[in-house]
Symmetry: C2
Subunit: 278 residues, 2 copies
């Protein structure tokens, strides 16, 4: 999100008599793992009286790392934040949180006061009954999985785990830069653990990079992924994005991944894709 562009769009809508009320920024986008500039977005939201939400589903875990936390600077100014500990923090599916700055808001929005579900005349303090704050009623106690993991690993353990994943992303990034048959989608070091890249098979090298070349390159990742699935050796995502043909997206969230696994991944892509002809 480009703050100046956001503000221009708010102004344009206001001029038309519309009332913008909500901005949804992202901490860790799905494909690129990008972080929006939260402080500058918060300034704009404050100035125009807009609700600021941060979708930190994927990137929220970085708050546990002193080294990587600055990427989320300004998130504390948001009115609401979503965060999925089942993503970066390895809690088994599902474990999702939506956090609101204003205390009592969720209850005021969601409560039905159905006394056949949540009896007000219990022998304990019913303010601990959380049912009326949620959209769902009967549900699994997902937060228990996070609580147990936090108790077992500690804040330091989780920090080490997250730092390890980002180190792996950095290692892959450097390897990709140094290998001839691979090309990065972005020249810069990744902000999160998403590393996006193309494998260029020998048959596509040294050719003019025209529309036809792009069409051929688009098929490479899908073909290699199909081979991977058949052989069962590795598994890595791919997708196109806008005008960009299919590229691989390696995402690290398992801290047990080692450098040798990353070397193996690149070797395996070359092994499975080296003979591709078009």
């Amino acid at each position: 999100m480009i703050p100046s562009d956001l503000e221009n769009k708010i102004m344009a809508e206001k001029e038309k008599g519309h009332v913008p009320f909500y901005v949804s920024a992202t901490a860790g986008t799905t494909v690129y793992g990008a972080f929006d500039p939260f402080d500058r977005i918060a300034d704009i939201c404050e100035k125009h009286g807009l609700w600021m939400h941060v979708d930190a589903a994927w990137g929220g875990g970085l708050l546990l790392s002193k080294k990587h936390r600055p990427k989320l600077s300004g998130i504390e100014r948001a009115h609401s934040v979503t965060w999925n500990p089942h993503k970066m923090m390895n809690v088994p599916l599902q474990c999702s949180a939506v956090l609101f700055r204003e205390k009592g808001l969720l209850q005021a929005c969601n409560e039905f006061c159905a006394n056949y579900l949540f009896q007000p005349d219990k022998q304990y303090d019913v303010s601990y009954d959380t049912g009326d704050k949620t959209i769902q009623c009967g549900r699994h106690v997902d937060v228990f999985k996070l609580w147990l993991m936090w108790k077992a690993k500690g804040t330091c353990g989780l920090e080490l785990q997250i730092n390890r994943c980002l180190e792996n992303a950095e290692y892959l990034y450097k390897k990709l830069k140094s290998r001839d048959n691979f090309e990065l989608v972005f020249p810069n070091e990744p902000e999160h653990t998403n590393v996006c890249f193309w494998y260029i098979p020998p048959s596509l090298q040294g050719m003019p990079r025209d529309k036809e070349w792009n069409t051929k390159l688009h098929k490479v990742a899908a073909k290699i992924k199909a081979h991977m699935m058949e052989e069962g050796t590795v598994m890595v995502s791919y997708q196109p994005l806008k005008e960009k043909p299919n590229f691989f997206r390696m995402v690290f969230s398992n801290p047990a991944s080692r450098k040798s696994d990353i070397d193996f991944l690149l070797d395996e892509i070359e092994r499975l894709g080296g003979d591709l002809e078009f």
Copy 2:
């Protein structure tokens, strides 16, 4: 739901120029466990061109019992049905299904065709990818729990289990009729496993049943439940409903419950509530 009343309301809205479009009937209401007359409701929906939904979250399990299935007669005419195998069928929380009669409708309503999530160029038939049919994206494979249970117990096993729960409800109903200190909320045999009743402590017996008496009776279930929780012997729900003061709602969903457990429940309520004074 009273069919004639439903039709009157539809007509009244149409006369005002409104367009009713949706009827939500219930198979197994939360408190009473009641079943709506689906065939007659379906007739009205057909006549007026309305979508018929059946909330069978709680009562849907009875479809597995040849004996109790007729209570849901007409549900097959619904356009959509919700069903929670985590309720009557003992699948661990959560396991919920929403079924639509028209094939392809959920996909048409929910699909985003986000090719960065669900790649269309895979090596297998992507019509098996269910992600684009659902509202959620990343989620736990809850249906696996149901599948495993079904494989283990078989359709016959599930039927026996459901019949057992309804037999227990019938046993409790008969016991309640035969014991002096208990009173049923409804005189009829329960349709589902919900059995709703009051315990009338000796101090409230033989007195005029006026407003004051109701206010006192209202406190009985809450006080006994609090004792139950403190002693940890049994646990049973209670709630008021409209003008009815707090009553107990025993619901059977565990087929391992035995008649001796039911006898114990009633003895325990008498033991914990026998001395209540107002």
